[in-house]
Amino acid sequence: MCNCGSKDVLTPQIGVVTEIRTETSDVKTFRIEKPEGGKVFDFMPGQCAMLSAPGMGEAIFSITSSPTTKDYMEFSIKRCGEITEYLHAIEVGQQIAIRGPYGKSFPVTTEALKHKDLIFIAGGIGLAPLHSVIDYMLANRDDYGSIDVVYGARSKEDFVDYKELSEVWPKEKNTKVHLTIDKAQEGWTGNVGFVPQFLKDLKFTPDKTVLLCGPPIMIKLCLAALIEMGFAKTQVYTTLEFRMKCGVGKCGRCNVGNKYVCKDGPVFRCDEIDELPDEY
C-alpha cells in the first residue's frame, strides 16, 4: 500500500472492460469503466491514456469516446504489436490497468474552434482521436459551426464505427460525412480514391478550421493539398501520436525538440510543428 497517500505518476488505476466491439478485421473498440462503475477519470477530446498489458508493458492510446459520456470511456485499437495483440485477445470482464489522461486536448473550449466551421479529416484508425472531438461537439452542437467529416479507409470493411458514420452523424444538424475508399469495391457506391484528392474534389472553402489525423504520410499529403486549396497552417490541427513512453514528460523518449509529445502534444497546430526540428 502506498504509504503517503500520494500515488506515483506512473501508478495506474484499475478499470474493467465492459464491452468489446469488433470494428474491422484489425480494429476493436473497448469500453472501460471503473470496477465499481463510472468513468475511470475525466479527460478532454484528443487526450490519451496509457493501457497496461501486465508482463509486457504499456502503450498509449487516444481516447475515442466523448468526454461528455459520463459512465465510461472507449478506445478503438488497431492490432499492430505485442500489447495490442494482448488487448485484442481479452474478454469482457477482464480488468485492465489504465493511467491518464495525458497530453493536451484539441482546443474545443477556446475560440480556436468554437463557432468555427470545421473539417475533420481522418484516415484509418486516425478517426479514433477525432471521434472523441466530434462526439463532444455534437453534444454541444450550438457552440460550433458546420461540421464536415472526411474519412478514408482501405476498403469498406476498414471503416471504424461505420454505423455511426453512416447513420448517426449525417442526421445531426449541419453535419456531413464524406467517405472514400482506396480501391473500387463491389457494393460501394461512394467515392473511390485517396483522401488528399478527395479533399480537393470536395472543394472546401479555405475559411474553415481543420482537424487532421491519420498515418504520417497521409497527414503530409493532406496538408499539402490543404495549402494548395488556400488553407494556412494555423488553421490545421493534427496529432503526433507516437513514441510516448512514460506519458509524463520525463523519460526522454517522445520529445521532438524541446516539446514532449506526451505533455505538450499530442495535439499540435501545424505551424507549431514547423518550428520543431525535423525529427518526427
Partner: protein, 342 residues
Amino acid sequence: MLKINKAKWAELFAALSAQGTLYLPAEVDGKVDFTVWQDGTEVNLQATQTAKSIKNVFFPQIENLLDFKTDGLKLSVEQRMLPEEDTIAFGVRGCDVCSFEVLDKVFLKEPVDAFYKARREHCTIVSLACSAPDETCFCDTFAIDATNPGGDVTTWLVGDDLFWQANTDKGKELTEKIQALLAEGDEAGVNAQQKATKEIMAKLPLADFKIDPKIPAEQEKVFNSAIWKQLSDSCLSCCACTYVCPTCHCYDVRDFEIDNKVERFRCWDSCMCKDFTKMAAVNPRVSRLERFRQRYMHKLVYFPENNEGTFACVGCGRCLQKCPVSLNIVKVAKALGVAKDV
C-alpha cells in the same frame, strides 16, 4: 565556521551514519565511488571525481514501482512503498550538487515523481569543495563555484581539517546532531584554498571553454549542422556517458514476470541506445546520428529552452574520462561552434 580534524573523522562518519544511510566517496579496487559507509570503508576525499555520479541516491538505476497480481479476470495494482529512509550524501562536489537542480527540474516538475521526491526530501547533502581540479573539469563553464559547492552543508578539506558550514535548515539540523564533534574554525585557510584552487583552474586546458548562452535560439542551425555526421560516425552508441552523467535522466519502464505476479520497474535508459525504451517500436531516433544529436541537443538546447537557460550539463567531466572513444560534450560543443572561444 566549524571544523573537524582528520583524527575524528571516523567518529564523524559514525555519527552521521547514525542519522541516516551515509553515502560518501570510497575507494574499492582503486576506483572511487559513492558507497554506503560502514565501519572499515576506505573513505577517499582526495579524488576530484567519483567514477559514477551520485544521482542513483535519488534516481536508482533500477527501482520497483508497483506489482500487478492477476486472478482470473481480476487485476490488482499495488504501488511499492515510497522510500522513507533518511540519507546523507557526503562529499558531493559542486558539479554534482548542481546536477540535483537539473534533476529536480525534471522529476519535481508537475506531475511530480513521487519516488524521486521522497528520496530527495529524505536526503541531506553535505558538499565538499574542490581543491585540486582536474583537466577534465569545466564546471566554471556553467558558473558553478567548485570552491563553494553549496548543498545543505558545505565542507572544505584544508590540510588535515575538514571545515563545516551549514547552509540550510536541513544542514543546520544535521550539524546540531553532531555538534559535539565539531570545533570552531576560522575561515582564513578556506579562503586561501579557494583562491589557490581558482588559480589552478585558470591554468587548466578547459579554463576558457564557454558555451554560448544564446544557442537555444539557434536551434535550427545547430540541429541541421553537418558536423553531427562526422561526430556521430565514431560514436559506439553505448551508454557509458549517460550512465556516468549526473544529469542524464532518461528511463524505461519494464515488467518482470514471475508466476502470476508482475513487477513493474523503472530503470535507467539511454537515448543513445538503439533499443531505448523499446517496446513495440524501436527507438524513434533510428540512426546513430539522430540519437547522438538528441543527447547533445537535449543538454545544450532543449533543456535550457524549457528551463530558463539552465544547461543539462554541470561540467563534471565524467564523459571526458569515460567515453571509450573520447567523444564528449566539450568536443561536440566546440565542433558545433557553440563554444565561445572558437
